[in-house]
């Protein structure tokens, strides 16, 4: 289902403009990369989608006309930048269970959802641990597991790589890719250009304004090292690469 931002404006309590006006149509199943400088309005956009912020003017609605306040409670899942804000269970198993029980239609289904979410995030061995005994990265994965158990149609992920080591980042990337392939709509908010390469749409949010651009535009603003490297290498070697594949380039520059 499409998500339509129709002249959406959000203001701070002081009256100062926080975001907008935003006019945007995101099609169901798209992966949208949201980036831009600190304080630009990216997290405000996430809060708007999650429903905890209401626009002062304009409308956020689904393609069939249903406005944000009437969306089903499990329709949008929001993985926040600060995982401690959303891990509330006595232990990790309990926390993911809470999400499953809230959103699943039966107890049996909730057990299956919890089991799958803990498996996908690699947290099965830590199920009995209390949140305060986990590291920042483990806690972030726990927050992701609880949202996975929600089975939301739209996922808003604020800084998905937060506090994660390389294995955790890879795991989260694969999970998000799989969800996108299942038809879920993703909003990935990050300063990390890696996510831009996975996305269908690219938004630059600065001073409350949302600007859509192509992948190259976003990559240039974020100074995408890989694209700079590939472009430079093609110019110097005078060999056009069909695709910027690591193994192809590796063999070209060091064939031993």
């Amino acid at each position: 289902m499409d998500i339509i931002f129709d002249h959406v404006v959000v203001r701070y309590d002081t009256g100062k403009m926080a975001l907008g006006p935003v006019n945007l149509v995101v099609h169901g199943g798209e992966c949208v990369f949201v980036t831009g400088p600190n304080g630009g309005g990216k997290t405000t956009l996430a809060r708007l989608l999650s429903g905890i912020l209401i626009p002062v003017s304009g409308e956020l609605r689904m393609g069939d006309g249903i406005v944000r306040s009437e969306w089903p409670p499990d329709y949008v899942g929001w993985i926040q930048q600060e995982p401690e804000h959303q891990v509330v269970g006595a232990n990790i198993l309990g926390d993911v269970n809470l999400s499953s029980l809230w959103h699943a239609s039966s107890y049996r289904q909730s057990v299956a959802r919890t089991r799958q979410a803990l498996k996908d995030t690699g947290l099965e061995p830590l199920g009995a641990r209390a949140a305060e005994t986990l590291s920042g990265g483990e806690l972030h994965l726990a927050a992701i597991a609880a949202i996975m158990a929600q089975h939301a149609q739209v996922l808003v992920v604020d800084e998905p790589e937060t506090m994660l080591d390389a294995s955790g980042q890879l795991r989260v990337e694969k999970m998000l890719q799989a969800l996108n392939e299942q038809g879920k709509t993703l909003f990935v908010i990050s300063h990390n250009r890696i996510w831009g390469r996975l996305a269908d749409r690219h938004l630059w949010v600065q001073d409350g304004k949302v600007e859509e651009m192509d992948q190259n535009g976003a990559a240039q603003r974020l100074a995408d090292d890989w694209m700079t490297f590939c472009d430079g290498l093609q110019a110097i070697t005078d060999r056009p690469f069909e695709s910027c594949e690591v193994s192809q380039i590796g063999k070209l520059i060091w064939p031993f």
């Binding site: 701070y12 309590d13 831009g36 400088p37 600190n38 304080g39 990216k42 997290t43 930048q81 600060e82 401690e84 641990r129 005994t133 986990l134 590291s135 920042g136 990265g137 483990e138 994965l141 800084e159 790589e161 937060t162 506090m163 994660l164 080591d165 390389a166 294995s167 955790g168 980042q169 890879l170 990337e173 300063h191 890696i194 974020l222 100074a223 090292d225 890989w226 700079t228 490297f229 430079g232 290498l233 110097i236 070697t237 910027c244 690591v246 193994s247 380039i249 590796g250 070209l252 520059i253 060091w254 064939p255 031993f256």
Partner: protein
């Protein structure tokens, strides 16, 4: 200043530290996988976590810490109060302090937020605020837990520059999974996984020897080249221009053979 840890075992992570003596000054990474005990190690140094076993001795040093989640450190109603509460009224009117304060506000670009509630700031702005507080407090040892999280590229560069300029006057320990950022300005680090290394090693060597998986294609290319004994440096991949320079040299040498 002296910090010595002996025969320590931490709870939860079970990290063991047979013996660790803090360097006197400089920039050092504390690197290792999630859940290995890096943040707990900082908590021990801050005396907010009691180890299961062992002892820590800290003499003559003021330690500051910017936590993973800087909002845990926010206590005041405005950015101004957050910056000034650690200082007495007498200190605050001192001319030298005023100059330092002006420098710090400018460095972390906080003037525009001066009367704003810290809770209304973005995550990156909150982190800058707590960094600014410690910039003003100027501790002997500064612990930074994932300091680049939430910062955009420009602020990551500014933070690295600030830390580098202070490297000769204090000890700064940094935990981070942001390898390109860390490798861009930190020379050595301690690996933390089950045990904490007693002595620091080249950070580039630590990055390579632990063969961490990655989603960064430039990093993947560099691993592949190093694994095939290509003459490139451990840190070449962290900057596209540097990587390009090394790869072009390599490619030309191959063409001339």
């Amino acid at each position: 200043m002296a910090i010595l840890i002996e025969n320590m075992v931490l709870p939860h992570s079970q990290l063991r530290i047979p013996r660790w003596s803090a360097p006197r000054q400089g920039l050092y990474g504390i690197v290792g996988p999630n859940g290995s005990g890096k943040s707990q190690f900082f908590s021990v140094l801050m005396r907010t976590l009691k180890p299961r076993l062992g002892k820590v001795s800290i003499e003559n040093c003021r330690i500051g810490c910017v936590m993973q989640h800087p909002e845990h450190q926010l206590t005041e109603a405005t950015v101004r109060d957050e910056m000034l509460w650690p200082f007495s009224r007498k200190q605050q009117v001192d001319h030298r302090f005023q100059n330092q304060l002006a420098d710090v506000i400018q460095r972390w670009d906080l003037e525009v937020h001066w009367q704003q509630s810290p809770w209304t700031l973005s995550t990156g702005q909150k982190r800058r605020l707590i960094l600014a507080v410690y910039d003003l407090l100027n501790p002997d040892v500064l612990l930074l837990d994932e300091p680049s999280e939430g910062l955009d590229g420009e602020w990551k560069k500014r933070l690295a520059t600030w830390l580098t300029t202070r490297a000769g006057t204090r000890l700064t320990l940094i935990t981070s999974h942001d390898w390109p950022w860390l490798l861009s300005f930190v020379g050595t680090g301690f690996w933390c996984e089950k045990t904490l290394d007693a002595s620091p090693k080249d950070l580039g060597q630590l990055w390579y020897s632990h063969q961490l998986p990655t989603v960064n294609p430039l990093e993947q290319l560099w691993r592949e080249l190093l694994n095939r004994n290509a003459p490139v440096s451990w840190r070449g991949w962290i900057d596209a221009e540097v990587a390009l320079g090394q790869v072009v040299t390599l490619w030309k040498s191959v063409q001339n053979q």
